[in-house]
Symmetry: C3
Subunit: 176 residues, 3 copies
């Protein structure tokens, strides 16, 4: 009996291996540029569509992508930032060739003509596919963006520790 | 006998652990800037040289790094983009201090004087070391870059699902 | 006895699984922008505070974050770069809305008013938490930054192979 007890059962042999755990992908969305946001949401929705648990942690300029587009800020600085950074996901411009908005218009037109989903559509798709969207509380505090000015699809307002925990369970981590 | 059968053999105990699988590194090359491209190719060739399987997924501005340098685009927008984005890997400028091309010239000169491989040389090295280069089909479609305008070293034209599959098998993933 | 010997002991069953190995996070700090540097140091200190071994590999513009702030460069190009890139971690500006330094001043003021640690404080915290800081020797060579102009908290001057080794042992890798 002692021998039998010393023989590990198949269950005891089970190690929590990477393959068995749910597959996860976590990304920091730091950028609020149109082109990088496209890349972020395309990767997120693509991964979620193939059964991977996806977490997007929006911080700094990335917060613009999950704001409702209304003005924010209470202090002089906060309001100045809100003004410079105003408009929601539909007003972000590309990181290059923006030319005061011409680039944004051109990119949108090119993508529409190629039947590529727009940013608002991609974000909706992400929500439908169960992508977890977390807003960085520290950035919100510094940029004076209250929780009420975020879109309702945001799952959580949390700090960097939450991202780090998600990242540790993820096979793939990206900083965009 | 029943007991002996219930005792797992060493082979059965083998779990598919990370160490046993081939080591892999996957990166999204989103940027077409000279300095970031240098970083991408230096990491890729460094990893490949130490026996790691490397996949580079070129998307958005990164496509410039694997184009033959000829003009692209058929629509007005496509041609405008092809014009702004023309020139292959040898014409990309740094993300900072470009000053209308002076920065590019200066960086090239500094790197040559320090015997650092140039971007075309690094890309060739990557090919020689078996780095897998994938071109993003969606970006190619939006930017109107036909497959014939890519360098022949490109291994595959594929979508985001292919990158996600590669990334899931990789210990290291980067977005550059 | 032969049977007993063929039965693996719990110790023998132990596979080097991800959970058992020390948790690690490695990042390439390519950017020298204030906002991205904030993100890098906040992630690094956050991870280190929760018991994760963190390695920061500073390369290209990121080197500015671990310089003592004195002028660098010996050749004409090196001195021009040292001039453009002068000042240590306290003089870096944000990637957006810098407006010749106004943005930097504004961001600093906003962060101070929200009790967010400054970059010099975050870097000191990183050192105190045992974050390993590596300076990229190739970038130092190209940009003509001698080892003596780095802060003394830098643990190592090394090449890309060292980063790749660290990255292979890490659950989380980021390129910032």
């Amino acid at each position: 009996m002692a021998l039998a007890q010393s023989i590990p059962t198949p269950e005891q042999l089970q190690v929590p291996e990477t393959e068995a755990a749910p597959k996860k992908l976590s990304m920091v969305v730091f950028s609020g540029d149109m082109d990088k946001a496209m890349a972020a949401f395309i990767i997120a929705t693509g991964a979620a569509a193939s059964g991977i648990q996806v977490t997007m942690f929006f911080t700094f300029w990335g917060l613009k992508l999950i704001q409702d587009g209304e003005r924010t800020g209470s202090s002089v600085f906060g309001r100045a930032m809100g003004l410079m950074n105003r408009g929601g996901i539909d007003r972000v411009g590309p990181s290059k060739f923006n030319f005061l908005g011409v680039g944004r218009w051109m990119f949108k037109k090119m993508m529409r003509s190629k039947n590529v989903a727009s940013l608002p559509e991609l974000r909706e798709m992400a929500t439908d596919l169960g992508v977890k969207m977390i807003a960085c509380n520290m950035s919100m505090d510094v940029m004076e963006i209250p929780e009420g000015k975020l879109i309702t699809d945001v799952d959580q307002v949390a700090g960097v520790a939450t991202f780090i925990e998600e990242a540790q369970q993820s096979q793939t981590t990206l900083f965009i």
